[in-house]
Amino acid sequence: MVEESKELRRNFDYVPGSGAVYNVIDYIAGWARKYSIWPIHLVTGCCGPEFMQTSGSEYDMERLGVLPFASVRQCDCIMVVGVLSRKMALRVKYLYEQMGEPKYVVSVGACPTGKGPFYDSYAVVAVDEVVPVDVYIPGCPPRPEAIIQGMMLLQEKIMKEKRIGVKE
């Protein structure tokens, strides 16, 4: 994927003005992806109720275009909400692999970020041992404002991302 894209870029470099075209496509793609993050319906632990409050009326994540979706094929973000056990970690990995390419992972809560109150448990893993993480949101559970700020950070990150479609 990366090589293909780089080769294409090399071909492009001969064309004057191609950089501008390229940037415009990148900008549009970044804008579209930024406002259309579809996280998957996956609650791994106990921050679930707070996640529900965030989708609910007072905070309403859909304002940002964040719309939880049912099937992994259509989603582009895993929000690991709450503690991640060993048994679930395997599933998160599967889901990450099944997801289409521009994909992001948000770790919501202290437990997936660094095991939280279960630091000495035999059955808990941190999420970055399993999949690469883009944004960490601390808190136990994090307040809805914190979750929304995390999603806005992810939006910023997506917008800044160059050569979209390629994770380097």
């Binding site: 060993r86 048994k87 395997l90 035999y122 059955a123």
Partner: protein
């Protein structure tokens, strides 16, 4: 029926089959059974004494005494009395018959005790991994000598 009455009646009915029967406090009873009479006493508790509602089951590890205790929590829905039905097994060979024949709802709890303590339940219909991952290699977590993390492959 008061707690003492129940205990006295249990003692009368199963004088030789139980090790001890005590009242822990109000509405809590404790019966420790001898290993060979495990199933009969359970059936009698269910049929005669009205302990029809199983609540849970779990173990306790006593490494210093080299024994483990399996405890079943059974409720009597009429008197609202909670009975702990206990059996002691040796720690190195923790074998006991399964109580699912008497109270089938204990199936989950026996599966849990199997992987947490290593109890072997004879005659359990469905002994498959329950809470731990299927590829767990770390031993029995709730035993006192369990140290560190489990290993999965």
């Amino acid at each position: 029926m008061s707690e003492e009455t129940i205990i006295n009646r249990i003692k009368e009915a199963h004088r030789d089959q139980i090790e001890s029967a005590t009242v822990m406090r109000v509405k809590r009873l404790s019966v420790v059974v001898k290993n060979e009479n495990f199933i009969e006493v359970a059936e009698s508790l269910r049929d005669t004494f009205g302990f029809t509602q199983p609540a849970a089951g779990g173990g306790v590890d006593y490494p210093s005494e080299n024994r483990m205790q399996m405890i079943y929590y059974i409720t009597n829905p009429e008197d609202k009395v909670l009975l702990t039905y206990r059996i002691n097994v040796p720690r190195d060979a923790p074998k006991l018959p399964s109580l699912t024949k008497v109270w089938e709802a204990l199936s989950f709890h026996e599966r849990e005790a199997h992987e947490m303590f290593g109890f072997e339940f004879e005659g359990h219909p469905n002994m498959i991994p329950f809470l731990l991952p299927p590829d767990w290699r770390g031993g029995h977590p709730l035993r006192k000598d369990f140290k560190g993390e489990g290993v999965t492959e």
